[in-house]
Point group: C2
Chain length 340, copies 2
Amino acid sequence: MLDERKLDVLRAIVEDYVATHEPVGSKTLVDRHNLGVSPATVRNDMAALEEEGYITQPHTSAGRIPTDAGYRLFVDKLSTVKTLSPAEKKAITSFLAGAVDLDDVVRRTVRLLAQITRQVAIVQYPSLNRSHVRHIEVVTMTPRRLLLVLITSAGRVEQRIVEAPHDVDEQLIGDLRSRLNTALAGQRLTEAATSLAAVPETFPPHDRHLVSAIVTTLLEAFTDEVGEQRIAVGGAANLTRYGDDFERNVKPVLEALEEHVILLKLLGEATNPQTLTVRIGHENPYEELATTSVVATGYGSKSEALATLGIVGPTHMDYPSTMGAVRAVARYVSQILADS
Amino acid sequence: MLDERKLDVLRAIVEDYVATHEPVGSKTLVDRHNLGVSPATVRNDMAALEEEGYITQPHTSAGRIPTDAGYRLFVDKLSTVKTLSPAEKKAITSFLAGAVDLDDVVRRTVRLLAQITRQVAIVQYPSLNRSHVRHIEVVTMTPRRLLLVLITSAGRVEQRIVEAPHDVDEQLIGDLRSRLNTALAGQRLTEAATSLAAVPETFPPHDRHLVSAIVTTLLEAFTDEVGEQRIAVGGAANLTRYGDDFERNVKPVLEALEEHVILLKLLGEATNPQTLTVRIGHENPYEELATTSVVATGYGSKSEALATLGIVGPTHMDYPSTMGAVRAVARYVSQILADS
DNA sequence: ACTGGCACTCCGAACGCTGGAGTGCCAGGG
DNA sequence: CCCTGGCACTCCAGCGTTCGGAGTGCCAGT
């Protein structure tokens, strides 16, 4: 049905349209790409491509623009992910290497991603429920007030304050600290939650009240965030890159960026860092974002993704470059996190 | 020069223009506000106001719109800050009360502020150099790798990783921890930096190398962030509220939001929470933001501001309500922070 | 199967027109 | 002296019209 040349034509249309953001006609197409055939022939091919639903014309007697299906075919079959130049790679590593802690890594990543792709970048914080307990710290602030600090394997730190029912004994705190750490260190948060339940019983009845309070707060910290994932967003200024129809195109995206729940759905399930998820136009779950595409991938260790990162942009984006950048950044971040 | 009625006219013009975003003429003005005089009289007043530079007309034979000077006069003399309704106050407290830690407080504040003012909200994190050391924690992650956690009086947590020159002894760590805390707890970060310098000398020569490494990193954490202040931004979707001239109005703001340095300058010096800073149009330090106003104030304790929060929006915003909301939020946040 | 030619379509920029909202000014009246 | 009604003037925004160019579809010829 679609021979080689028709696919070439489609590829050329996508590339031209992405570059110019204007409907592309048969004549300009043969001028710019040397297809070796006449405009008339291209017109026939275009008619076929339109028949199949890969391109469309905004109105009769205008050039063609790709449909979502057209972009989909382009991404799947007609293009190869573009690798970054050595200079770019180097810039990435050196920029990320300067990070001082997890927060900083995420902030830098989001900035970096926005800069290279020139799109809006989204980075999900490493999820708590896939990471491990690295350390739990109990600190006395006043005799009646304790600070709990939870440090996870990804370097994420959660803190909670606990009001004690009565003045607490330093000895007890030290004891509790070491018992918590020996009981939980290295466990996944989900497992740790289970182990935690047994802790209060190992203490004498007099202290149990306090210990329970602490354990409860800790449990909350473990599970609380599972639903409410954290997210960083950057490069909103790149929204300029959508066309001019502010109301229809930009506004919905701007609104979505405020709603982290929506962003999480957009990013989708964290995939293996090798695999890129591309959602084109109406393929994504929100009607209002029909002119928006998402390119995302997981990051973390090689085998298992800790979280997802990606970009959001107009459907008429440069997919090969964008995909290359997202993939590269995901890899380097994974590496940085593994090292620290 | 400007009698009472002329000021009434200016007030009416500002209010109408803010409500409609359209140049307001003499007739509509007397219709909507009962000024008790005829359109012709108002026209004369308008001519005077224009003469003085408080209003202007986009083109001959159009209505008038306020100039930046007009808004300035309005804010300074012609309006009173609007207090929130009890329901709104209650909503604020209950929304902020749910916060679990400092990060959460800031996130909630920014969201809240954006929601009530329907503008872009900006909240600066409590600055390190004005807060005190609450606790310092040293955690062994591997025998060669230590995690330092600094907790400040505002609840802010900074963490750093230190590679030890040789395997470290648990005993030494415990010793160091308690010495650091007794030496530094309660001090301002700036003072603490000085006290810190003396710490290594109190250790035997064998350990001094390690201790110095830790102290150096800690010092960096103390001072590092002084320049690089953290900031949270929210409500970018409200940028829709600017007029339609996307390129001129919205784009520069969107770009500024990415540059935290610029935002800090916009917010300006943290003021006493009682005092509101209002920068109207070209009063702010960036040429591109000439159609943008900033309403900001400090928050923290009553006597001294920890940091600044505020909003950014079009010059034609509803100043009385916005100022009321910013002030109220600042107060409640200060309260929440004082309690925790 | 590809190509050149031709008639047709349709948008968008340019132009001119017109109604309405607004102004400035002036002379008259409390 | 300040206010008012009246009047001529200005100028934009919206609307309809025109027109050229870019693009298409189709057909007959190679």
